[in-house]
C-alpha cells in the first residue's frame, strides 16, 4: 500500500506544483517526478516495506504477491521512461505541462492498484482510473483536431467497454454472491452450467479485451495511437495493455479457473485472429504511430498465446515478453517523439536520413524494430520463442494449439515486411528533406540507453528475468 500512497501523493503534489513553479521551470518538474519514481523503484528492490511479497489489505481486496510486485516494478519503469519522453514533448503541449506529468502519475497509480486487484470492485475502480486519465491524456493537445478526435473515439468505445464490464460484474456477483477472486474461485465450479454466470464472465472478458486491444475489440487502437500525443501513445501501448493483461490473468486464473479450462478454444481463436488482423492491417500503413498501433494489436495476439496455453510456462512467457515489449516500445516511441519534433505529421518519410542526422536514434529505432520483429539476439526473439514453446507443449492435448503456433509464425513472417520497411526508410530513402542534425538532451540519452540495455539484457541473459517471471507466475500454480 505504501507505494500506491506515495505515487498518489506525488501526483497531487505535481498537480498543485503548477501554481507555484515559475513558467520556465515547469518543464523540469518531469525530472523531479522521474527522480521520485526511480527512488520508489529502488526502494521496492530494497524491500523497505514498499513492496512486501505477501499480505492483503481492505479485507482481501488488495493483494501483495509475486505477480503484483513484478507488475509494479514494470509499471514504475514504464512511467519513468514515459516521463523522460514527456519532458521532451512538453514544448508541443499548449497549456498545463505539469498537469500532463501529474496525469501520467495518476494513471500509474491506477496501474499499481490494478496489479494488486483481487476483487471486482478494485478491478473496476483501477481500470476506470486508468481509462479516464487516458481520455484526458489522449486529447491533451486541444489545438490539434486529431488529438481531440482520438480522445472522443477512445471515450465512446472505452465507456462502452466499461459498461459491459460493469454489467458482467453485476451478473457474476448476482449469481455467486462473491466479489473477491479467491472466494469466487472456491464456488465457481458450482456455477459452470449457469448461463447468467457465464454471460457475466464473458462480458467481463469483453471489458478486459478492449483494454488489451484484442480482436474484435481492437477498433479504437489505430486511431487513438495515431492521434494521441506520442508519450501518451507509448504509455497506452505499454502500461494500459499490461494493466489489462494482469487483470485478465487474475480473472481467468485466480477467479474462474474452472471456466477458463473450458474456454481454451475461444482463447485460441481470439489469439490467432488478433495476430493475423494486426499484422495484415499494418502492411499498408505509412503513418508511423498508426503502424505501431496495428503492430501493438498483433503483439496483444502474441501475448494471448501465453494466456491460451493455460499453463504456468505460458504465463511466465507472457510476463517475460511484456518486459521485453516495454523497453522495445518505449525506445521506438522515444525516437518518434524526437524525430517528429518540428513536423506536423508522423509519416514514415520523417525517418529519412536519420542515420546521418543522429546515429544513436537510428540505431535505437533499428534495434527496436528488430526486437519487435523477433530476430535474435534481442528481447523480442526470446519472448516469442518462449510463448511458442509454451503453446506447443499443450499441442498433444488439443491439436488447435498446433494451428495457433503456425498462425503465430505466419504472423511473425508477415511482420518482417513492415518492420523492415521502417528500417529501410531510415537508411535507404531517396531524398531526405531535412538533414539538420538532431541534438539530444542528456536525460533523453539516458532513457534511450536504458531501453537499449533492456532489450539486449533480456535477449542475451534471459535467465535472471525469466526466473523473476516464473516466480511471479507461480501465484497461479497453487
Amino acid at each position: 500500500m505504501t507505494l500506491e500512497v506515495c505515487v498518489m501523493a506525488l501526483g497531487v503534489v505535481l498537480m498543485l506544483a503548477d501554481f507555484w513553479l515559475p513558467a520556465d521551470r515547469k518543464k523540469f518538474a518531469g525530472y523531479a517526478a522521474v527522480a521520485a519514481l526511480a527512488g520508489l523503484l529502488f526502494l521496492s528492490f530494497g524491500g523497505c516495506g514498499c513492496c512486501s511479497l505477501s499480505g492483503t489489505a481492505f479485507n482481501g481486496m488488495f493483494v501483495e504477491d509475486g505477480l503484483a510486485v513484478f507488475f509494479k516494478r514494470f509499471f514504475l519503469i514504464a512511467a519513468i521512461l514515459v516521463l523522460f519522453m514527456a519532458v521532451e514533448f512538453s514544448d508541443r503541449i499548449a497549456g498545463g505541462v505539469s498537469e500532463y506529468y501529474s496525469l501520467i502519475v495518476f494513471a500509474l497509480s491506477g496501474m499499481l492498484f490494478a496489479a494488486s486487484a483481487n476483487d471486482f470492485t478494485m478491478l473496476f475502480v483501477s481500470i476506470e482510473l486508468i481509462t479516464i486519465t487516458f481520455y484526458i491524456l489522449t486529447s491533451f493537445q486541444r489545438g490539434r483536431l486529431v488529438s481531440l478526435e482520438a480522445g472522443v473515439k477512445y471515450l465512446i468505445l472505452g465507456a462502452l467497454s466499461s459498461s459491459f464490464l460493469v454489467f458482467g460484474i453485476a451478473l457474476v456477483w448476482g449469481t455467486t454472491g462473491k466479489l473477491n477472486f479467491n472466494e469466487l474461485a472456491a464456488v465457481a465450479a458450482q456455477f459452470e452450467s449457469n448461463k447468467i454466470f457465464l454471460i457475466g464472465v464473458l462480458f467481463i472478458l469483453v471489458g478486459l479485451g478492449f483494454k488489451i486491444a484484442a480482436f474484435p475489440f481492437q477498433i479504437w487502437a489505430p486511431d487513438v495511437y495515431q492521434g494521441a500525443p506520442t508519450p501518451t501513445t507509448a504509455f497506452l501501448a505499454v502500461g494500459s495493455k499490461a494493466a489489462g493483461f494482469v487483470l485478465l490473468l487474475r480473472v481467468l486464473f485466480t477467479a474462474v479457473p474452472t471456466v477458463t479450462a473450458h474456454w481454451a478454444n475461444l482463447l485460441i481463436v481470439i489469439s490467432g485472429i488478433t495476430i493475423l488482423y494486426g499484422n495484415l492491417c499494418a502492411l499498408p500503413q505509412r503513418n508511423l504511430k498508426r503502424l505501431l498501433g496495428y503492430s501493438s494489436i498483433a503483439h496483444a495476439g502474441y501475448l494471448l498465446l501465453g494466456v491460451a496455453a493455460l499453463s504456468t510456462s505460458g504465463q511466465s512467457a507472457l510476463l517475460y515478453y511484456l518486459a521485453g515489449y516495454l523497453f522495445t516500445v518505449c525506445a521506438a516511441f522515444t525516437v518518434i517523439c524526437l524525430v517528429t519534433r518540428h513536423l506536423d505529421n508522423d509519416d514514415l518519410s520523417a525517418l529519412a536520413g536519420l542515420n546521418r542526422r543522429s546515429p544513436l536514434l537510428a540505431a535505437t529505432m533499428t534495434l527496436a524494430m528488430v526486437s519487435l520483429a523477433g530476430i535474435p539476439p534481442l528481447a523480442g526473439f526470446f519472448g516469442k520463442f518462449l510463448l511458442l514453446k509454451s503453446v506447443l507443449e499443450q499441442g498433444a492435448a488439443n491439436p488447435g494449439y498446433y494451428c495457433l503456433a503456425f498462425t503465430a509464425l505466419a504472423g511473425v513472417v508477415i511482420s518482417f515486411y513492415y518492420y523492415f520497411g521502417v528500417i529501410r526508410a531510415i537508411y535507404w530513402s531517396k531524398a531526405a528533406a531535412d538533414v539538420s542534425p538532431i541534438s539530444l538532451s542528456g536525460p533523453i540519452k539516458v532513457a534511450l540507453w536504458i531501453c537499449i540495455a533492456g532489450m539486449f539484457w533480456l535477449g542475451l541473459f534471459p535467465s535472471k528475468a525469466l526466473n523473476l517471471a516464473t516466480e511471479a507466475a507461480s501465484v497461479f500454480a497453487k
Binding site: 500512497v5 498518489m8 497531487v12 498537480m15 498543485l16 501554481f19
Partner: protein, 130 residues
C-alpha cells in the same frame, strides 16, 4: 396481503384516469365546438406583452455554467462515500484494530478532494466574471 397492498394504489390509478380523461376531453370538445381560426404569422408569434419578440426563443447559456455544473456534480457525488463510512464509523472506532484505518481513510480521501478543490479554485474555475 398482496391484494390490500395493490388496493392502496387505487386512488393513484383513479387520479391518472381523471387526469388523462380531463386533458383528452377538453381537447376533443374544443375540436368539435370551437371555430377553426386562420393561422397567420403574427398570430404564431410568441406573445411578449404586445411587443415584438427579439432574439432566439432558447436563451444561450454561458459556457461557464457548464463548467460550474460539472464541478458541482463531481464534488456533490463524492459525498456518497460518506454514507457507508458513517454507517460503520462507530463500530470500527470502538474496535482497537480498525480505529486508525477508519479515520485515516476518510481523512486521506478528503485531502485528495480538497486538493482537487484547491486546483479548481486556483484555476479560477469558480470565477463567474471574465
Amino acid at each position: 396481503m398482496e391484494q390490500s397492498q395493490l388496493m392502496q394504489y387505487l386512488p393513484v390509478l383513479m387520479l391518472i384516469v381523471v387526469a388523462i380523461g380531463f386533458a383528452a376531453g377538453t381537447l376533443t370538445i374544443s375540436v368539435f365546438l370551437g371555430q377553426s381560426a386562420k393561422r397567420t404569422k403574427a398570430k404564431d408569434m410568441a406573445y411578449e406583452c404586445g411587443a415584438n419578440p427579439i432574439g432566439e426563443n432558447t436563451p444561450r447559456f454561458s459556457i461557464k455554467f457548464h463548467l460550474v455544473a460539472m464541478l458541482f456534480i463531481l464534488f456533490d457525488i463524492e459525498v456518497v462515500f460518506l454514507y457507508p463510512w458513517a454507517v460503520v464509523y462507530r463500530d470500527m472506532l470502538a474496535d482497537h484494530a480498525t480505529r486508525n484505518l477508519i479515520l485515516g481513510s476518510m481523512i486521506s480521501f478528503m485531502f485528495i478532494l480538497f486538493a482537487g478543490y484547491l486546483y479548481a479554485l486556483k484555476k479560477k474555475a469558480f470565477d463567474w466574471k471574465n
